[in-house]
Symmetry: D2
Subunit: 396 residues, 4 copies
């Protein structure tokens, strides 16, 4: 089973991303990963740190001569800011240090893990929590997922995302969607596919910044080119929709996930929700049928249908406000204004990239479950055999 683990504190020496269970023979360059890391650092409304970082990956293991080896792939991404934080975040104790708890955080920030983590792990300094709970961790997710994307690309799967809502402003959804969603979205500072909304959104961001406030939004992730039958209906923990929901809800600040029409299905009659099926020779990915609509968003019974997978993810506004919220100082028990460490107004554009990453991981995992195989060639052989069989089934 494909699995990944990340490690790393926000201001520690760096991040480590470990992907275990990837096949051998996958063409893979540092640039494939760095490109996704750069996409994650885009977006109007980000603060200073995004300029500092410019993340770059070092392959420590699992890659040789531009190909995966089948062994665990370990990537190291150094934190460029580490030199400024070495005294605060040193793994070693600093004896004789006059201020060993420099930059301790006790005015815990509402909306963050600060307080819950501090009580759970029994720490005095919320920095011991927030350094890990930081969205910086998602960099390592994006790195692992960049490799998953490479696998999916080999089979013609296209993953993209765009912002459909930001700070109270909806973007119109283009119809039809552009063939290359990311080419269009990445060209927009707010990753919207609606040029007319862009100006109002950037203005809204500027206003919020002025007010020391923050903004949330909604992203849509679309995956096209998937064959019918990823995931399974047989057990609750094999259902692809559940696994996607877990992956997406685990992104910091995400508070809602929906598939296809999502919450809107609750308001419609059955006849307006389900996707009628018709024969469509020449569509082997979907079993030579077509859904007349794709309200389901690409799954039925916890399995892909062969139609595009469409997910939406809601992100709350960034929890650190420059005009801080009321809280308690855990050192004194007194009321206080929350610590204000970081300054982005919104991370919604970046969140789309992270959501793509989580979807890519889940899909690659489901892919290898379905097709087995230890080398790219073997996966391809198994995939081709499956598609050929599927193509025989209906009107075949």
């Amino acid at each position: 089973m494909l699995r990944f683990t990340t490690a790393g504190e926000s201001h520690g020496p760096g991040l480590v991303s470990m992907l275990e269970g990837m096949v051998a023979g996958l063409p893979l360059l540092a640039g494939d990963v760095n490109r996704e890391l750069a996409r994650r650092q885009q977006g109007y409304g980000r603060g200073r740190r995004m300029q500092i970082e410019r993340d770059e990956v070092e392959f420590i293991a699992g890659v040789r001569a531009g190909q995966s080896l089948g062994s665990p792939i370990a990537m190291l991404i150094r934190n460029r800011d580490w030199k400024n934080w070495q005294d605060v975040m040193d793994p070693a104790p600093r004896e004789g240090d006059p201020d060993p708890r420099r930059r301790a955080v006790t005015r815990v920030r509402p909306g963050h893990a600060d307080l819950t983590g501090l009580l759970k792990y029994d720490r005095d300094d919320a920095r011991d929590i927030l350094e890990r709970a930081s969205a910086r961790e998602t960099t390592a997710r994006v790195a692992a997922a960049a490799i998953c994307r490479r696998l999916l690309e080999e089979f013609g799967v296209r993953l993209g995302s765009h912002v459909t809502h930001l700070g109270g402003i909806d973007a119109a959804r283009p119809d039809p969607m552009p063939a290359d969603i990311n080419a269009a979205a990445d060209a927009s500072p707010v990753r919207m596919l609606d040029a007319s909304a862009e100006a109002s959104v950037t203005a809204r961001i500027d206003e919020a910044k002025q007010a020391g406030n923050t903004l949330g939004g909604i992203c849509e992730v679309v995956a096209d080119g998937l064959p019918v039958g990823l995931g399974s209906h047989v057990s609750w923990d094999r259902k692809l929709d559940g696994r996607l929901a877990a992956a997406l809800m685990s992104i910091p600040a995400v508070k809602g996930v929906e598939l296809g029409l999502g919450f809107d299905t609750a308001r419609r009659m059955g006849s307006e929700v389900h996707d009628e099926i018709e024969a469509a020779p020449g569509r082997p990915l979907a079993g030579n049928v077509r859904r007349r609509t794709n309200r389901a968003g690409g799954t039925e019974g916890g399995m892909t249908t062969g139609e595009p997978l469409v997910l939406r993810v809601a992100m709350k506004p960034i929890s650190t406000l420059m005009r801080p919220l009321g809280t308690v100082d855990v050192a004194t028990g007194q009321a206080a204004a929350a610590t204000a460490e970081r300054s982005d107004v919104t991370a919604v554009p970046a969140m789309g990239v992270i959501a793509e990453a989580m979807v890519a991981f889940v899909l690659a995992q489901a892919w290898l479950e379905k097709f087995g195989g230890d080398s790219l060639d073997e996966v391809r052989r198994n995939y081709d055999g499956y598609l050929a069989r599927v193509a025989e089934r209906i009107g075949g």
Copy 2:
């Protein structure tokens, strides 16, 4: 780690629910489980089957003299309808049977697993898929979760659910919520806490039935009495919100999940989303603080805060319409009207009970991770020790 597996086809001999990893010494009666099974069978808009079934559990393993033993708990729930389906669903081959594929389903139903499962598992008869993909499977989930609830009840956790939307009609959310949500909700045929909406909803259900159509809706699940610190921020797959989302999205027909304000957070400013914190001696579950609001829905950083957990789940209308949708007959490749096997108009009231069940499982699992222990007494000792420590922290 607490884990559960279910087995069973909708018209097969029965369902099996297996819960592995529960502590010893938990008081447990068949009635504890049967009560939840009965709650799942409630609800206006259900068809004939709900009357037939009246599910009852038989403990096969793991329970003795009214207590759990710490060993795997296996429960058998016979399908009362089995006698009518024995020829169709016989595990053994029936040689010489004149019609071995009696009741074969080839006019695959849109919105169900019929077609995706048939292609994935390479079957000719969609019955081989739909019997398992049926919502009947959730009976076994509710059984396993009834035991998880018993554990949580020992610690004063109260789980409830109610319908907030059904078939286009919103229920008003009572403020404050009743102390015992289920006592109120279970008394309503549509499990709403808004008596004024009930009549319109049942009328709407009757209309839909008349029209051969189906209805979806939204349920809210609330868990009260949880201590701060269930779940974790340290790794993506430990975050409680992600695990809850997976569990809920895996319920058949669920298309959306949200926590706290959910999608609405995307439309608000940060200052209107995050929950300010204030000292509140005498609230050890929350670390002697209070959130002035609970917009987060009870988690921060993937951990419980000590405030009530509030989740909402959107369910699409039942996929089998009595006025069937257009589809393809997989045996012939020709256009056809979808098979119409079952007749409920809506399962939204029942879905709340199932959603409670999935939440109860995830919470019990997180509970045992946090507190360890092999007997109820040991869990209690560890829990008490933790709460005492938490109570010392802020203003303690």
Copy 3:
């Protein structure tokens, strides 16, 4: 991933065996399982219970018309002795029962889980532990594994076992081994392939019985027909040898596991241990090579080589002695003679069948990891494709 869970107490209502993740389309009859259950009940030296039980499986889920469905397979095996134990093992509390702790076990038996389990799970009556720790549980393992065997058989894998040592007496290992090991071993009351040793072994068993003592022994499991490449070297928990060792050491009373020459390799020079390789066209399973010897026992680097897998398992004598050992009565803290509940002299012949079962499960799991697939046909297609590719590699 293929996984299985068992439930059931020795004198409770029955056992449940649940196998999750098996492909669809596997031909499967109750007789396939019952045959293995019967093999497990063989053997000279067993007491009365083996006659009572004659285990028979009821498929509750996952099988239809003689084929697996891809859904979880649940099997129920009723304990025939249950009627005599209903008062002792009733899942429900029996109020007003004059002797509610009838047959309580407090004189804990050395060598059993009685005392360790009682302290861990904080129980007063060791019956709450021993009912589950009993070797009766392995019946459910054998049932799940019988299905795994059916899968392997479809690909020509042959699994067998025989006793190489019992109660101080070694059996000579035939050279060459018979093509069908089990046909020969099952014909022997002690499952030995050495007729000359049989008589002394049965005499030794009779003597031990007379003396109220018990005997241990060693079994060898052989799996033939496996392709090169099951398991993996890439991570410690993917290595097939480790996974086999876990599965075998988890059998009650097993104290040692070895592969190939096993402990004997420690006493030899490298040149006497490693298996030289030579070209051997027409052996696609092994990559068209042959090892001149098979001292490794069929794996290199945690992967199958294509040569027979050969494992040996050491079982201690049964822990319940009719001339009981000294112990403590946990109710009084006083010295006591251990409870003596069961009377077999040796279970070594049966243990071989259980060891085969555990090996079959691990191999089927590794098989589905390597070849993927959701139907038997798909696994076969992927397997054939792999073998064809392997056959091209060396001298191809």
Copy 4:
């Protein structure tokens, strides 16, 4: 659940060790890890590389100011030899390189993963396999386990190992064992506790070296100070003995594992195998009892008894012989002498350290399952509560 993953090729940039699920607040210094890495590099009979490496760990994540944070701990161990291998092992493709497959290995070595891995992963150069299958990988295991040891040490658990057999020569087992096994064993160049055997063993190693041959051996691992009740009897995959066997058998070149008397139990009567129990106030770890013997090696029913855990592990001679074995050149299909890359005569002394590491990991994992907790203090509180309860049980 505590889990660890390693990454790294033998001559790649370095190794990464990731430990996920460790509690917060554990005192932890790089020196704690480096000390174990140095112990792994000891031993008479090692070649040049052991001098080169002198492994040192860099904490990348999860440790701050000398304490664990509860977040994943990532360690980087650079390969000092990397500079000499950069052209061969470069992750990036080297275009225009005149000899891109420099040092390709096609004369696959018997006893290694070379051939099995090459066929499984469909590679042309066995270096793509052997770099990962190398015992160098165990360095990263020892690093992760050094942290597990730190946890266990906090509770007074002492782990040690010694060589009981090497190259045909048995060491006498001291009786009683020294209180600090490693202090004694690490002082011996062959890690034996029998000074009289040492000289013959080193002579035997010299002879084998002369002859271009290699030697195997047996190590014993002992863990003292464990409480009763780690592991469980309830399910096959929770049994501590099985989990230990998996962990040990996964060490490269290990071919056998036994617990307590191990294979010898098969040759004894029951009365000579099981450990009689007697009251022993003041031994809370064992429940205030004592086994008169410890033939079981510290477990009953898959759980620790409170007596020392005693395991033995058999290691085959190193597979690479300087007088190479016969094999096939996979590039040509012709007979060939196997590649001879590395030159140690025996790794048995180091294997003991690795075996300790694997045991430490399994024990720490079982520890956290039993006691739960997110901080060292919380684990301690739960542990103390359990011991107090256990102490009440028998004669309490």
